[in-house]
Symmetry: C2
Subunit: 230 residues, 2 copies
Protein backbone atom coordinates (compact mmCIF):
# COMPACT_ATOMS: atom_id res chain seq x y z
CA UNK A 1 0.00 0.00 0.00
CA UNK A 2 1.05 3.53 -0.72
CA UNK A 3 1.17 4.88 2.83
CA UNK A 4 3.13 1.78 3.94
CA UNK A 5 5.76 2.73 1.39
CA UNK A 6 5.82 6.32 2.55
CA UNK A 7 6.27 5.20 6.14
CA UNK A 8 9.50 3.42 5.24
CA UNK A 9 11.03 6.64 3.93
CA UNK A 10 13.28 8.13 6.58
CA UNK A 11 12.00 11.71 6.42
CA UNK A 12 8.39 10.53 6.79
CA UNK A 13 9.05 8.09 9.62
CA UNK A 14 7.76 10.53 12.23
CA UNK A 15 4.34 11.04 10.61
CA UNK A 16 1.19 9.53 12.13
CA UNK A 17 -1.46 7.61 10.15
CA UNK A 18 -3.59 10.67 9.41
CA UNK A 19 -0.66 12.66 8.11
CA UNK A 20 0.44 9.71 5.96
CA UNK A 21 -3.06 9.48 4.51
CA UNK A 22 -3.05 13.18 3.66
CA UNK A 23 0.38 12.88 2.10
CA UNK A 24 -0.54 9.82 0.06
CA UNK A 25 -3.36 11.77 -1.55
CA UNK A 26 -1.05 14.35 -3.06
CA UNK A 27 1.72 12.07 -4.35
CA UNK A 28 1.92 10.38 -7.75
CA UNK A 29 3.21 6.89 -8.46
CA UNK A 30 5.08 6.02 -11.64
CA UNK A 31 6.70 2.88 -13.00
CA UNK A 32 9.70 2.74 -15.32
CA UNK A 33 11.63 0.11 -17.21
CA UNK A 34 15.37 -0.30 -17.48
CA UNK A 35 16.84 2.60 -19.41
CA UNK A 36 13.77 4.82 -19.08
CA UNK A 37 14.38 8.45 -18.26
CA UNK A 38 12.66 9.69 -15.08
CA UNK A 39 13.67 13.26 -15.79
CA UNK A 40 16.24 15.24 -17.75
CA UNK A 41 18.10 18.23 -16.36
CA UNK A 42 16.25 20.32 -18.92
CA UNK A 43 12.78 19.66 -17.49
CA UNK A 44 10.90 21.99 -15.16
CA UNK A 45 11.03 20.98 -11.52
CA UNK A 46 7.84 19.33 -10.26
CA UNK A 47 8.99 17.90 -6.96
CA UNK A 48 11.20 15.23 -5.48
CA UNK A 49 11.07 11.45 -5.80
CA UNK A 50 11.26 8.32 -3.71
CA UNK A 51 12.52 5.05 -5.17
CA UNK A 52 10.21 2.23 -4.04
CA UNK A 53 11.52 -0.69 -6.08
CA UNK A 54 14.42 -1.04 -8.52
CA UNK A 55 17.37 1.33 -8.85
CA UNK A 56 17.79 4.87 -10.11
CA UNK A 57 20.93 6.61 -11.30
CA UNK A 58 21.42 10.37 -10.97
CA UNK A 59 23.93 11.53 -13.53
CA UNK A 60 25.41 14.35 -15.54
CA UNK A 61 26.47 14.39 -19.17
CA UNK A 62 29.19 16.69 -20.53
CA UNK A 63 29.03 18.42 -23.89
CA UNK A 64 31.26 15.72 -25.38
CA UNK A 65 28.94 12.98 -24.08
CA UNK A 66 31.00 11.89 -21.09
CA UNK A 67 28.78 10.61 -18.29
CA UNK A 68 29.33 10.80 -14.55
CA UNK A 69 27.05 9.17 -11.99
CA UNK A 70 26.55 11.24 -8.84
CA UNK A 71 24.25 8.92 -6.91
CA UNK A 72 22.64 5.52 -7.10
CA UNK A 73 19.27 5.59 -5.37
CA UNK A 74 18.02 2.35 -3.86
CA UNK A 75 14.52 1.67 -2.44
CA UNK A 76 13.09 4.04 0.16
CA UNK A 77 15.64 6.70 -0.58
CA UNK A 78 14.80 10.10 -1.98
CA UNK A 79 16.28 12.07 -4.87
CA UNK A 80 16.00 15.56 -6.38
CA UNK A 81 15.04 17.20 -3.07
CA UNK A 82 17.72 19.88 -3.29
CA UNK A 83 15.85 22.24 -5.68
CA UNK A 84 12.98 22.36 -3.17
CA UNK A 85 15.03 24.89 -1.25
CA UNK A 86 16.39 26.81 -4.14
CA UNK A 87 14.42 29.92 -3.40
CA UNK A 88 11.09 30.09 -1.66
CA UNK A 89 9.39 31.93 -4.52
CA UNK A 90 11.17 30.79 -7.61
CA UNK A 91 10.39 27.12 -7.16
CA UNK A 92 6.88 27.63 -8.25
CA UNK A 93 7.52 29.37 -11.52
CA UNK A 94 8.51 27.43 -14.57
CA UNK A 95 12.14 28.52 -14.73
CA UNK A 96 13.23 25.79 -12.37
CA UNK A 97 14.90 22.70 -13.77
CA UNK A 98 16.08 19.40 -12.33
CA UNK A 99 19.75 19.67 -11.43
CA UNK A 100 20.77 16.39 -13.08
CA UNK A 101 19.34 13.50 -15.10
CA UNK A 102 17.62 10.45 -13.59
CA UNK A 103 17.32 7.04 -15.24
CA UNK A 104 15.83 3.73 -14.08
CA UNK A 105 18.49 1.00 -14.08
CA UNK A 106 16.14 -1.94 -13.61
CA UNK A 107 12.81 -3.06 -15.01
CA UNK A 108 9.80 -2.33 -12.81
CA UNK A 109 11.47 0.58 -11.05
CA UNK A 110 8.65 2.21 -9.11
CA UNK A 111 8.94 5.75 -7.84
CA UNK A 112 6.75 8.20 -5.97
CA UNK A 113 6.67 11.88 -6.90
CA UNK A 114 6.11 14.34 -4.05
CA UNK A 115 4.95 17.67 -5.52
CA UNK A 116 7.08 20.62 -4.44
CA UNK A 117 4.43 23.10 -3.30
CA UNK A 118 2.46 20.74 -1.08
CA UNK A 119 5.58 19.35 0.50
CA UNK A 120 6.91 22.78 1.33
CA UNK A 121 3.69 23.54 3.16
CA UNK A 122 3.96 20.31 5.12
CA UNK A 123 7.57 21.09 5.96
CA UNK A 124 6.83 24.50 7.38
CA UNK A 125 4.25 23.10 9.77
CA UNK A 126 6.17 20.03 10.85
CA UNK A 127 9.46 20.41 12.72
CA UNK A 128 10.08 16.68 12.89
CA UNK A 129 10.14 16.30 9.13
CA UNK A 130 12.32 19.34 8.89
CA UNK A 131 14.93 17.94 11.25
CA UNK A 132 14.88 14.65 9.41
CA UNK A 133 15.31 16.51 6.17
CA UNK A 134 18.43 18.21 7.58
CA UNK A 135 19.77 14.85 8.71
CA UNK A 136 19.12 13.41 5.29
CA UNK A 137 20.96 16.26 3.65
CA UNK A 138 23.82 15.87 6.09
CA UNK A 139 24.15 12.25 5.06
CA UNK A 140 24.10 13.25 1.42
CA UNK A 141 26.77 15.87 2.05
CA UNK A 142 28.97 13.33 3.74
CA UNK A 143 28.57 11.03 0.79
CA UNK A 144 29.50 13.75 -1.69
CA UNK A 145 32.49 14.82 0.39
CA UNK A 146 33.68 11.26 0.42
CA UNK A 147 33.06 10.94 -3.30
CA UNK A 148 35.13 14.06 -4.03
CA UNK A 149 37.89 12.84 -1.77
CA UNK A 150 37.99 9.55 -3.66
CA UNK A 151 37.97 11.24 -7.08
CA UNK A 152 40.67 13.78 -6.34
CA UNK A 153 43.00 12.05 -3.92
CA UNK A 154 43.03 8.49 -5.25
CA UNK A 155 43.89 6.79 -8.52
CA UNK A 156 41.48 4.47 -10.31
CA UNK A 157 42.87 1.30 -8.73
CA UNK A 158 42.37 2.65 -5.22
CA UNK A 159 38.85 3.82 -6.09
CA UNK A 160 37.91 0.41 -7.42
CA UNK A 161 39.39 -1.33 -4.38
CA UNK A 162 37.58 1.15 -2.15
CA UNK A 163 34.28 0.50 -3.87
CA UNK A 164 34.64 -3.25 -3.46
CA UNK A 165 35.37 -2.89 0.24
CA UNK A 166 32.46 -0.51 0.82
CA UNK A 167 30.05 -2.86 -0.93
CA UNK A 168 31.36 -5.86 0.96
CA UNK A 169 30.90 -3.91 4.15
CA UNK A 170 27.25 -3.23 3.33
CA UNK A 171 26.53 -6.87 2.57
CA UNK A 172 28.70 -7.99 5.47
CA UNK A 173 27.59 -11.65 5.43
CA UNK A 174 30.47 -12.96 3.35
CA UNK A 175 33.59 -11.94 1.47
CA UNK A 176 32.08 -11.63 -1.97
CA UNK A 177 29.89 -8.95 -3.55
CA UNK A 178 27.50 -9.03 -6.48
CA UNK A 179 27.37 -5.88 -8.58
CA UNK A 180 23.86 -4.51 -8.93
CA UNK A 181 24.85 -2.24 -11.81
CA UNK A 182 26.59 -2.78 -15.14
CA UNK A 183 30.32 -2.32 -15.35
CA UNK A 184 29.70 0.59 -17.69
CA UNK A 185 27.72 2.31 -14.96
CA UNK A 186 30.24 1.38 -12.30
CA UNK A 187 32.94 3.00 -14.41
CA UNK A 188 30.86 6.18 -14.74
CA UNK A 189 30.31 6.17 -10.99
CA UNK A 190 34.00 5.76 -10.23
CA UNK A 191 34.97 8.57 -12.58
CA UNK A 192 36.57 6.41 -15.24
CA UNK A 193 35.66 4.43 -18.40
CA UNK A 194 34.74 0.76 -18.96
CA UNK A 195 38.06 -0.14 -20.57
CA UNK A 196 40.06 1.19 -17.64
CA UNK A 197 37.76 -0.47 -15.11
CA UNK A 198 38.16 -3.79 -16.89
CA UNK A 199 41.94 -3.51 -16.88
CA UNK A 200 41.93 -2.44 -13.24
CA UNK A 201 39.87 -5.43 -12.11
CA UNK A 202 42.23 -7.66 -14.03
CA UNK A 203 45.19 -6.06 -12.31
CA UNK A 204 43.66 -6.64 -8.87
CA UNK A 205 43.01 -10.23 -9.92
CA UNK A 206 46.59 -10.73 -11.09
CA UNK A 207 47.71 -9.46 -7.70
CA UNK A 208 45.53 -12.15 -6.09
CA UNK A 209 43.50 -9.68 -4.07
CA UNK A 210 40.18 -10.57 -5.75
CA UNK A 211 38.60 -12.91 -8.28
CA UNK A 212 36.05 -11.64 -10.76
CA UNK A 213 33.37 -13.84 -12.31
CA UNK A 214 30.86 -11.78 -14.24
CA UNK A 215 29.07 -9.64 -11.71
CA UNK A 216 30.46 -11.50 -8.71
CA UNK A 217 33.66 -10.25 -7.11
CA UNK A 218 35.25 -12.35 -4.41
CA UNK A 219 37.76 -10.86 -2.01
CA UNK A 220 40.73 -13.20 -1.57
CA UNK A 221 43.10 -11.07 0.45
CA UNK A 222 41.08 -8.66 2.58
CA UNK A 223 44.06 -7.33 4.54
CA UNK A 224 46.11 -6.47 1.49
CA UNK A 225 43.09 -4.89 -0.19
CA UNK A 226 42.43 -2.82 2.90
CA UNK A 227 45.82 -1.30 3.41
CA UNK A 228 46.06 -0.83 -0.32
CA UNK A 229 43.16 1.66 -0.48
CA UNK A 230 44.03 3.97 2.39
Amino acid sequence: MLSDNLKKVYIFSGLDETELETLSKIVKQKTFNKGDIIFFDTEPYLGFYITVTGLVKIYKISKDAKEHILHLISPYNTFAEVPLFENFNEIFDDSFRYPANAMALEDDTRVILIPARQFRELLESNTKICIKMVSGFAKRLRHLNHHIEELTLKDVTKRVAGYILTEQNKAKDNDSISLNISKNDLAAYLGTIPETLSRTLKKLQDEDMITVDGKVIKICDMDRLKDFVV
Copy 2:
Protein backbone atom coordinates in the same frame (compact mmCIF):
# COMPACT_ATOMS: atom_id res chain seq x y z
CA MET B 1 29.44 43.35 18.51
CA LEU B 2 28.95 39.62 18.76
CA SER B 3 25.19 39.49 18.22
CA ASP B 4 25.52 41.82 15.22
CA ASN B 5 27.83 39.28 13.67
CA LEU B 6 25.46 36.43 14.42
CA LYS B 7 22.59 38.34 12.85
CA LYS B 8 24.45 38.46 9.54
CA VAL B 9 24.66 34.68 9.40
CA TYR B 10 21.93 33.35 7.14
CA ILE B 11 20.64 30.61 9.44
CA PHE B 12 20.31 33.05 12.34
CA SER B 13 18.65 35.82 10.34
CA GLY B 14 15.19 34.92 11.67
CA LEU B 15 16.11 35.23 15.35
CA ASP B 16 14.89 38.17 17.45
CA GLU B 17 17.12 40.23 19.77
CA THR B 18 16.45 38.08 22.83
CA GLU B 19 17.26 34.87 21.02
CA LEU B 20 20.45 36.41 19.63
CA GLU B 21 21.46 37.44 23.14
CA THR B 22 20.91 33.93 24.44
CA LEU B 23 22.87 32.49 21.54
CA SER B 24 25.75 34.90 21.94
CA LYS B 25 26.22 33.69 25.51
CA ILE B 26 26.95 30.13 24.50
CA VAL B 27 29.28 30.76 21.58
CA LYS B 28 33.07 31.15 21.65
CA GLN B 29 35.13 33.54 19.57
CA LYS B 30 38.60 32.67 18.33
CA THR B 31 41.20 34.46 16.21
CA PHE B 32 43.74 32.81 13.93
CA ASN B 33 46.67 33.86 11.79
CA LYS B 34 47.50 32.79 8.28
CA GLY B 35 48.38 29.12 8.21
CA ASP B 36 46.93 28.37 11.65
CA ILE B 37 44.93 25.18 11.99
CA ILE B 38 41.36 25.65 13.22
CA PHE B 39 40.83 21.93 13.51
CA PHE B 40 42.23 18.67 12.20
CA ASP B 41 40.06 15.80 11.05
CA THR B 42 41.46 13.83 13.97
CA GLU B 43 39.98 16.09 16.64
CA PRO B 44 36.77 15.43 18.57
CA TYR B 45 33.77 17.36 17.28
CA LEU B 46 32.83 20.35 19.44
CA GLY B 47 30.42 22.19 17.18
CA PHE B 48 30.28 24.19 14.00
CA TYR B 49 31.93 27.47 13.06
CA ILE B 50 31.16 30.79 11.47
CA THR B 51 33.83 32.79 9.65
CA VAL B 52 33.56 36.45 10.70
CA THR B 53 36.66 37.94 9.07
CA GLY B 54 39.35 36.46 6.85
CA LEU B 55 39.14 33.21 4.91
CA VAL B 56 39.08 29.54 5.87
CA LYS B 57 39.90 26.52 3.76
CA ILE B 58 38.31 23.13 4.37
CA TYR B 59 40.55 20.44 2.97
CA LYS B 60 41.56 16.80 2.91
CA ILE B 61 45.03 15.29 2.78
CA SER B 62 45.77 11.88 1.26
CA LYS B 63 48.27 9.42 2.70
CA ASP B 64 50.86 10.55 0.16
CA ALA B 65 50.37 14.19 1.19
CA LYS B 66 48.23 15.31 -1.73
CA GLU B 67 45.83 18.08 -0.70
CA HIS B 68 42.37 18.82 -2.00
CA ILE B 69 40.33 21.85 -0.96
CA LEU B 70 36.60 21.15 -0.61
CA HIS B 71 35.40 24.62 0.38
CA LEU B 72 36.62 28.14 0.88
CA ILE B 73 34.60 29.81 3.63
CA SER B 74 34.24 33.59 3.46
CA PRO B 75 32.78 35.88 6.16
CA TYR B 76 29.33 35.07 7.59
CA ASN B 77 29.34 31.58 6.20
CA THR B 78 29.32 28.47 8.33
CA PHE B 79 31.44 25.34 8.23
CA ALA B 80 31.54 21.90 9.87
CA GLU B 81 27.77 21.78 10.48
CA VAL B 82 27.33 18.38 8.86
CA PRO B 83 28.46 16.26 11.84
CA LEU B 84 25.78 17.95 13.97
CA PHE B 85 23.31 15.56 12.39
CA GLU B 86 25.46 12.51 12.39
CA ASN B 87 23.42 10.70 14.96
CA PHE B 88 21.38 12.29 17.68
CA ASN B 89 23.15 10.42 20.47
CA GLU B 90 26.63 9.86 19.20
CA ILE B 91 27.46 13.52 18.71
CA PHE B 92 27.86 14.01 22.37
CA ASP B 93 30.32 11.26 23.05
CA ASP B 94 33.96 11.69 22.28
CA SER B 95 34.14 9.36 19.29
CA PHE B 96 33.06 12.08 16.90
CA ARG B 97 35.68 13.77 14.73
CA TYR B 98 35.67 16.68 12.33
CA PRO B 99 35.16 15.39 8.79
CA ALA B 100 38.01 17.42 7.24
CA ASN B 101 40.76 19.89 8.19
CA ALA B 102 40.25 23.63 8.51
CA MET B 103 42.99 26.26 8.14
CA ALA B 104 42.94 30.08 8.27
CA LEU B 105 44.23 31.53 4.99
CA GLU B 106 44.59 35.13 6.19
CA ASP B 107 45.90 36.89 9.25
CA ASP B 108 43.27 38.00 11.74
CA THR B 109 40.78 35.35 10.65
CA ARG B 110 38.07 35.50 13.30
CA VAL B 111 35.64 32.66 13.80
CA ILE B 112 32.77 31.86 16.14
CA LEU B 113 32.28 28.37 17.53
CA ILE B 114 28.69 27.25 18.11
CA PRO B 115 28.71 24.31 20.53
CA ALA B 116 26.88 21.25 19.19
CA ARG B 117 24.62 20.36 22.11
CA GLN B 118 23.21 23.82 22.72
CA PHE B 119 22.61 24.40 19.05
CA ARG B 120 20.74 21.14 18.67
CA GLU B 121 18.40 22.19 21.44
CA LEU B 122 17.81 25.52 19.75
CA LEU B 123 17.14 23.79 16.46
CA GLU B 124 14.51 21.46 17.85
CA SER B 125 12.52 24.34 19.26
CA ASN B 126 12.85 26.68 16.29
CA THR B 127 11.37 25.72 12.94
CA LYS B 128 12.63 28.84 11.20
CA ILE B 129 16.25 28.04 11.90
CA CYS B 130 15.63 24.48 10.87
CA ILE B 131 14.25 25.48 7.47
CA LYS B 132 17.14 27.85 6.95
CA MET B 133 19.52 25.07 7.88
CA VAL B 134 17.95 22.87 5.19
CA SER B 135 18.27 25.69 2.67
CA GLY B 136 21.89 26.18 3.64
CA PHE B 137 22.59 22.49 3.19
CA ALA B 138 20.79 22.54 -0.15
CA LYS B 139 23.09 25.31 -1.30
CA ARG B 140 26.10 23.35 -0.12
CA LEU B 141 24.86 20.26 -1.94
CA ARG B 142 24.47 22.21 -5.14
CA HIS B 143 28.00 23.49 -4.75
CA LEU B 144 29.41 20.01 -4.23
CA ASN B 145 27.43 18.60 -7.16
CA HIS B 146 28.81 21.33 -9.33
CA HIS B 147 32.31 20.72 -8.00
CA ILE B 148 32.09 17.00 -8.81
CA GLU B 149 30.74 17.78 -12.25
CA GLU B 150 33.69 20.06 -12.88
CA LEU B 151 36.24 17.55 -11.60
CA THR B 152 34.95 14.56 -13.50
CA LEU B 153 33.59 15.99 -16.72
CA LYS B 154 36.08 18.73 -17.51
CA ASP B 155 39.84 18.96 -18.07
CA VAL B 156 42.06 21.35 -16.13
CA THR B 157 41.87 24.12 -18.73
CA LYS B 158 38.07 24.14 -18.65
CA ARG B 159 38.07 24.10 -14.84
CA VAL B 160 40.44 27.07 -14.67
CA ALA B 161 38.40 29.00 -17.24
CA GLY B 162 35.23 28.13 -15.34
CA TYR B 163 36.72 29.35 -12.08
CA ILE B 164 37.72 32.67 -13.62
CA LEU B 165 34.24 33.21 -15.02
CA THR B 166 32.55 32.32 -11.73
CA GLU B 167 34.75 34.73 -9.81
CA GLN B 168 34.21 37.47 -12.35
CA ASN B 169 30.50 36.87 -12.06
CA LYS B 170 30.65 37.31 -8.28
CA ALA B 171 32.54 40.60 -8.52
CA LYS B 172 30.53 41.69 -11.52
CA ASP B 173 31.74 45.31 -11.57
CA ASN B 174 34.43 44.81 -14.18
CA ASP B 175 36.12 42.22 -16.34
CA SER B 176 39.07 41.43 -14.09
CA ILE B 177 39.34 39.39 -10.92
CA SER B 178 41.80 39.43 -8.06
CA LEU B 179 42.62 36.05 -6.54
CA ASN B 180 42.05 36.01 -2.79
CA ILE B 181 44.02 32.78 -2.38
CA SER B 182 47.50 31.64 -3.38
CA LYS B 183 47.94 29.82 -6.65
CA ASN B 184 49.00 26.77 -4.68
CA ASP B 185 45.63 26.78 -2.96
CA LEU B 186 43.78 27.48 -6.17
CA ALA B 187 45.45 24.45 -7.72
CA ALA B 188 44.38 22.28 -4.78
CA TYR B 189 40.86 23.63 -5.11
CA LEU B 190 40.69 22.90 -8.83
CA GLY B 191 41.98 19.36 -8.35
CA THR B 192 45.40 19.91 -9.88
CA ILE B 193 48.93 21.03 -8.93
CA PRO B 194 50.67 24.44 -9.05
CA GLU B 195 52.84 23.58 -12.05
CA THR B 196 49.86 22.57 -14.16
CA LEU B 197 47.86 25.61 -13.07
CA SER B 198 50.75 27.87 -14.04
CA ARG B 199 51.04 26.30 -17.47
CA THR B 200 47.28 26.43 -17.95
CA LEU B 201 47.08 30.14 -17.17
CA LYS B 202 49.92 30.69 -19.59
CA LYS B 203 48.06 28.74 -22.27
CA LEU B 204 44.92 30.84 -21.80
CA GLN B 205 47.10 33.92 -22.03
CA ASP B 206 48.77 32.73 -25.22
CA GLU B 207 45.29 32.21 -26.66
CA ASP B 208 44.53 35.86 -25.80
CA MET B 209 41.56 35.00 -23.63
CA ILE B 210 43.05 36.46 -20.44
CA THR B 211 46.05 38.35 -19.11
CA VAL B 212 47.63 37.41 -15.81
CA ASP B 213 49.56 39.85 -13.64
CA GLY B 214 50.35 38.37 -10.26
CA LYS B 215 47.05 37.84 -8.52
CA VAL B 216 45.08 39.88 -11.05
CA ILE B 217 43.49 38.12 -13.98
CA LYS B 218 41.91 40.22 -16.68
CA ILE B 219 39.44 38.72 -19.11
CA CYS B 220 40.18 39.86 -22.67
CA ASP B 221 37.81 37.72 -24.68
CA MET B 222 34.76 36.95 -22.57
CA ASP B 223 32.79 35.29 -25.36
CA ARG B 224 35.50 32.88 -26.33
CA LEU B 225 36.20 32.07 -22.69
CA LYS B 226 32.51 31.38 -22.13
CA ASP B 227 31.86 29.00 -24.96
CA PHE B 228 35.18 27.38 -24.20
CA VAL B 229 34.13 26.18 -20.71
CA VAL B 230 30.71 24.69 -21.48
